[in-house]
Symmetry: C2
Subunit: 424 residues, 2 copies
């Protein structure tokens, strides 16, 4: 058993938190009796549930800063797609390890990923002790093709069979459609059926750009991407829909009815010029809105603290209403909304009986003094370098700059080498 | 003499930079001959001109996180104004020292400040080795009052006489009108005359909120705040106009004609719900647009790297054009546009003969790997904790987490104590 003393949470101060194995055992204002392997003094920190990055392409750390300040189509066709042609299992593994180190040290305990060579990302997750929902996305452009004949589905199924619920449930495998514009109605319907038959989650890109949204309507008799996916049965599985910048009012009841999570990626949406998602409106419509970083090629970091900060800022600023989004709102999006999206019901909150996925944020660094309310400090003043400790399933993965499950100098060296030779 | 080796700048790689006294002596691709007091290896860093924070209220670090998620009027009247009633010389000095430490460690070499007890901020600047343009703002609500009879002007003049050009020019004293809505036409005209007679710069708040902008027009026969200030002769002195969110197209030629700098405060404007300033449009109109953090009560940090990042993001996102603002644009705003605003002609750029005000940003931290182009890394991936060195006038103020001109533990302890007892 492990004891945290002097704990401040969003709910209270001067608390004691005990961790037994993978779980939080108690949170009390009296010091619990017992023998503890270790006692951690949490003075001048805020304890939060670990952060969730619910939409990313972790291995795209390979392309961090590789195509900048370009319009979306040029960015994709001149930079990203040609670069992705050169992906290998080794480069995806190396980049996933760096991404894991980046996320762990930024207080992220779990991420939802969509990318090529997902088994390499799974290896990185297994090794580093993080949690992740991973998938191999389906793309299908031929209306006569059944996905049963596609290599992609074979890969998705082999990933599922090998990794689903691996590492005591730390790794989950989702089914995935890349997007409406990269699939036929047939592939959407068939993938939806597969997901339902497995009881797997779905992960898709939805209405990220206005162009994509309008082209879908033109293709499908006026139906929006959300309406189209609903009709195909995609949302009958627990779905995370990334971006959703351009949803229409008529889409909101569909998402709410099916419990679809909107993974909001404010930085990527701004950086690629996709637009500003109406965060307040979706939350008011009863939709579960989580946060994501998207890939490092369009962000350029995997940093959910930044997403909280930018989400709070941009929605206050564009609505001209500083009370329209609160620190508590974005903290909720970054934690419990994320665990809910991933289907991890015993995660995402600090409660006895929940998984011990928690982080400590230093409220005494120069940029955080004074700290009249630690939750405000965490959202509006702190940054990734203020994360003091990251724990997943009761295991400390990172503490005071040290990684417990990876050799950071080796991870960095391998990444530098891989990137230096990537385009050879 | 000091020699930097292995230097990467925005302009080139594998450079040598020598610093002689307060000045950059040479930047060469060949290693210069000579005896050097110290040689600093700049491998895996980017050297930039030091950053400028051209609009802040440094001592408002006292109120960091003190009033959050509130509409502007409630924030001001319920939180900030009552808190400011309790300001003392000691609290302003203590908070200015913390602000200086925060800025130095975030790569800021100079700031433009507007606040009460400015002589205390001047003391902090003198001690810490930073640069600053400081002022005591004029406010005058009685149309019959001449500012010659006001205590504020007496304070402003005494500040000017004691501190202008102090510390080898590191400290400059500006004249200041708080804003149009806190002054009469008479106080604006008289302050403008004073500034002209002294040859001093002006510092004002201008069109920060829509309400302020519209109320000015109602008061002054349809004239915008910019037009009104122009008519009062305020812009005849070198002026920094903070915010300028709501300028009208007809205002732009006036600012351009007079060489007025717009100090853009993207984070504060978003956080207080003031709006999104049209950065691209002002730059295209030939206006010098610098960056500022505003006070820590509305930000909540004094971090120009964050301002660069948020400026680049928000203007890409709200214009739906990712190529509308580049990393080079915001780097220019954060450096040379700032030095130009402050009237420091031999600062703000890395050139032989210029003041040695420079910083090193680590391009090899986890969140910065890979770094295909270090300028992109600096703007889109790096954060304040990646600043390795800050030099002002050839003197190192901060290096690898150590402060050379202040005792950071003492500064933090005094700030914690002051804030803990501030509202007693």
């Amino acid at each position: 058993m492990l004891l945290f003393t002097n704990v401040t949470t969003q709910a209270g101060k001067d608390l004691y938190v005990t961790v037994d194995g993978a779980y939080i055992k108690s949170i009390t204002s009296e010091r619990p009796a017992g023998n503890f392997e270790r006692i951690i003094d949490c003075k001048d920190t805020l304890m939060l549930p670990g952060l969730y990055n619910t939409h990313t392409h972790a291995a795209m750390t390979l392309f961090r800063g590789y195509g900048e300040d370009l319009p979306l189509q040029r960015w994709l066709t001149e930079r990203i797609f040609p670069a992705e042609e050169k992906l290998t299992a080794q480069s995806v593994y190396t980049a996933s390890m760096l991404a894991a180190a980046e996320m762990i040290s930024a207080g992220i305990v779990s991420f939802t990923d969509m990318y090529m060579f997902p088994e390499e990302t799974a290896r990185a997750v297994a090794e580093t002790g993080m949690k992740a929902n991973l998938c191999r996305p389906i793309l299908s452009f031929d209306p006569d093709e059944s996905i049963k004949d596609s290599e992609r589905l074979a890969e998705a199924m082999s990933l599922y069979n090998e990794w689903h619920n691996a590492c005591d449930g730390r790794i989950k495998i989702d089914m995935s459609l890349h997007a409406e514009y990269t699939n036929t109605e047939r592939s959407c319907r068939e993938t939806a059926e597969y997901a339902k038959s497995l009881g797997a989650n779905m992960h898709i890109h939805l209405s990220e750009t206005k162009t994509e949204h309008e082209e879908c309507k033109a293709r499908h008799g006026g139906r929006t991407p959300a309406c189209f996916m609903y009709d195909c049965g995609v949302f009958d599985s627990k779905t995370t829909a990334a971006h959703c910048v351009w949803l229409e009012d008529s889409d909101l009841p569909l998402l709410r009815e099916k419990g679809v999570t909107v993974a909001h990626n404010p930085v990527s949406n701004l950086k690629l010029g996709s637009g500003v998602m109406p965060y307040r409106k979706y939350r008011d419509a009863g939709i579960n809105v989580s946060l994501g970083t998207d890939g490092a090629a369009s962000n350029n970091t995997l940093d959910v603290m930044k997403e909280m900060y930018v989400a709070a800022l941009i929605h206050k600023g564009t609505s001209l209403a500083p009370d329209s989004v609160t620190a508590a709102d974005v903290l909720e999006s970054a934690t419990i909304c994320g665990s809910r999206a991933q289907g991890r019901d015993d995660c995402g909150r600090l409660e006895p009986g929940c998984r011990a996925d928690l982080i400590l944020i230093d409220t005494d660094s120069i940029n955080n003094i004074p700290s009249y309310d630690p939750a405000y400090t965490a959202v509006y003043s702190a940054n990734r370098s203020d994360v003091r400790l990251t724990m997943v399933d009761g295991k400390i993965l990172y503490e005071n700059g040290e990684f417990m499950t990876l050799d950071i100098e080796k991870v960095k060296a391998e990444m530098r080498y891989t990137c230096a030779h990537y385009f050879d």
